[in-house]
């Protein structure tokens, strides 16, 4: 078993166990943490998480695969998630997807060969009044997009101008602005 929790995650795991009357309940928050650290959920991770919670790896995988946010495969460094639901469609989401697909030479659901970008069509991101919306790596919302603006974001991500904030950076969001 190659995978094991980092020291920080071990602490979080122990804390999570104190918050629920049944240990199974920590599964979703725990898988989020594992994915945040490892990028995606590997078979090793399923074995390990299962062993820590007394669940079979198959069971852990079965639960994880139900949820669209859990990644069972490696994806690009930047996952471009474009909402294609009703309000975003009305505001031109299809044009955004097409512009990204044309620029990156992939279809949605695919990852560029350099493993930098993945394009995904996703359901409503709860930002419908500023449609169309694209979320990058579950972190950054880009709203009221145009195809041009979306392409600029791709360029800036590639050149490192638009860095993705890390988890710790955003904890500051709880503090004062």
């Amino acid at each position: 078993m190659a995978y094991a929790f980092s020291e920080k995650l071990e602490k979080k795991f122990q804390w999570l166990l104190t918050r629920y009357p049944q240990s199974d309940a920590v599964l979703l928050p725990l898988l989020h943490e594992v994915q945040d650290e490892a990028g995606y959920l590997t078979p090793d991770a399923f074995d390990y998480v299962g062993s820590r919670l007394n669940l079979s790896p198959a069971r852990v995988k079965e639960v994880a695969s139900f949820y669209s946010m859990f990644r069972l495969n490696k994806k690009g460094k930047f996952v471009l998630q474009v909402c294609h639901n009703l309000s975003c469609y009305l505001a031109g989401a299809d044009d955004i997807v097409k512009a990204l697909e044309d620029k990156l030479g992939i279809k949605s659901g695919e990852t560029t060969s350099d493993e930098i970008f993945t394009i995904e069509r996703v359901e409503c991101l709860a930002s419908c009044s500023t449609a169309p919306v694209m979320q990058v790596n579950v972190w950054d919302y880009h709203e009221a997009l145009t195809p041009e603006a979306a392409l600029k974001i791709v360029d800036e991500l590639r050149s490192g101008k638009l860095a993705m904030p890390s988890f710790d950076d955003r904890v500051a969001a709880g503090g004062e602005a």
Partner: protein, 452 residues
């Protein structure tokens, strides 16, 4: 942040525009923070339930069930611990209201949760937040931590002798986890597949204990009601005696000023769209809207003169739902919207019930074929037949939530579907009728569920 429109009345959103509104400091110093929780500490459980009942507070997550009544279903001397669960899974297309509270006024939710937990004797509460809403989750986690540090959570809060622990729990991307029993399954660490009811959560919910599931906005209304009273809340409504309070409305699509607005319950839909949202885009006219999220049957523009309250909208054949108004103007194709609506539900069906799993896919694929211009005239009646067979036959109402809007589009805008359909003898494959077959399959699934 934009100031409120004069026709708005910010109650749950009061203080939204305040700088650092999400901190305990600002919430206490400027926004009357935790006064309700302190008051609740001196009230009995029944007193709290009664004032919420009198105020007529309805569940604002979609179903509109009276909150006080729901709380009164919780057994007084339960064998297992009682749980309070906040539904912050906001995923109904068009909806972005709970997010505003979670991100900007998280302490108001905690304040309301303390009151609700006191009313049902819950010592443990969870806030199930949609996984994609990471800022909301971080703000909420930070607020819970602040509340613990201040001694507002934990043991013997406000000298009431009551204890309350709150944990923020992230979802992971599944619309069905917004359905309360799907949410409970998910909270327990399982796939979010809804449970057959009864038993209702009030009797056996999360971890087998009696459970109250309430929406974020519902609970955020409780502090105001406890402090200002039932009469005040009743009078906030704009309409008849059956409308009370305010409601957060999310407007998106083809209007001049989309956004979220807190309006008196009972305000006319036409007033919302024309006066607050500025009417249609230049040179355009309204065609239709979903008045309460993607699950709500459409209203045509000539039906917009309806008061926005649960009962009036139900009478108009639709629903208040999540309070999300998605507006379409004269440019829009209704079949295209129908296809996208069905596609969403087909993607989100949890797959347990045949009429839902097959029905949603069926609708989506027949509609896709029509939109490509390859559908047959007889497809329209087959769609209507499929809708009919999906309703009221499943474990949860996701199947209905798909069938209802699609059916309304087929009925109210039939000519648009006819205009893109081909005569039957010009299409290659005709689609079989679904009736009977699906109903029989469903019966077997139901029987299996019952014996589980």
């Amino acid at each position: 942040m934009t100031p409120a429109h004069p026709l708005e009345n910010r109650v749950v959103l009061a203080g939204f525009e305040e700088k650092n509104s999400w901190t305990l400091k600002v919430f206490e110093e400027k926004l009357g923070g935790y006064v309700a929780a302190k008051k609740a500490a001196k009230m009995s459980a029944d007193e709290i339930i009664n004032v919420v009942k009198e105020a007529g507070l309805r569940g604002l997550g979609g179903a509109g069930f009276p909150a006080g009544v729901k709380w009164s279903f919780i057994p007084k001397n339960p064998v297992k611990p009682v749980y309070l669960v906040v539904n912050a899974d906001e995923g109904e297309p068009g909806t972005f209201k709970d997010r505003q509270i979670l991100e900007h006024l998280p302490h108001r939710l905690i304040d309301g949760m303390i009151c609700a937990a006191s009313a049902v004797n819950a010592k443990t509460a969870y806030i199930y937040i949609r996984g994609e809403l990471r800022l909301a989750r971080l703000r909420m986690e930070a607020a819970v931590e602040e509340a613990y540090k201040a001694g507002y959570l934990g043991k013997n809060i406000f000298g009431s002798g009551r204890d309350l622990d709150i944990t923020v729990h992230p979802g992971a991307g599944a619309y069905i986890c917004g359905e309360e029993t799907g949410l409970i399954e998910s909270l327990e660490g399982d796939r979010g597949q809804p449970r057959l009811k009864p038993p209702f959560p009030a009797i056996s919910g999360v971890f087998g204990g009696p459970t109250v599931v309430n929406n974020v906005e519902t609970l955020a209304h409780v502090p105001g009601i406890l402090i200002k009273g039932a009469k005040w809340f009743l009078e906030l409504g704009a309409g008849t005696d059956r409308t009370s309070g305010t409601k957060l409305i999310c407007v998106s699509g083809d209007v001049q000023r989309p956004g979220f607005y807190e309006i008196p319950v009972g305000m006319k839909l036409s007033s919302l769209l024309n006066d607050i949202c500025g009417g249609p885009l230049p040179g355009r006219s309204f065609k239709a809207c979903y008045p309460g999220g993607s699950s709500a049957p459409l209203l045509r523009a000539d039906e917009f003169d309806v008061p926005m309250d649960f009962d009036s909208l139900a009478k108009a054949g639709t629903m208040m739902g999540s309070g999300a108004v998605i507006v379409m103007d004269d440019r829009r194709s209704i079949p295209e919207m129908a296809m996208r609506t069905a596609r969403f539900y087909a993607h989100e069906s949890c797959g347990q019930c045949v009429p839902c799993r097959e029905g949603t896919r069926w609708l989506a694929s027949i509609l896709k074929r029509l939109c490509r211009g390859e559908g047959a005239m007889s497809d329209i009646d087959k769609l209507l037949d499929a809708c009919d067979n999906m309703k009221g036959r499943t474990i949860c109402v996701l199947a209905d939530a798909c069938a209802m809007p699609v059916e309304s589009m087929l009925k109210k805008f039939r000519s648009e579907f006819e205009a893109i359909a081909k005569p039957d003898d010009q299409v290659e494959v005709t689609i079989p009728k679904v009736s009977g077959q699906m109903a029989a399959l469903m019966e077997s699934v139901r029987a299996r569920q019952m014996t589980k």
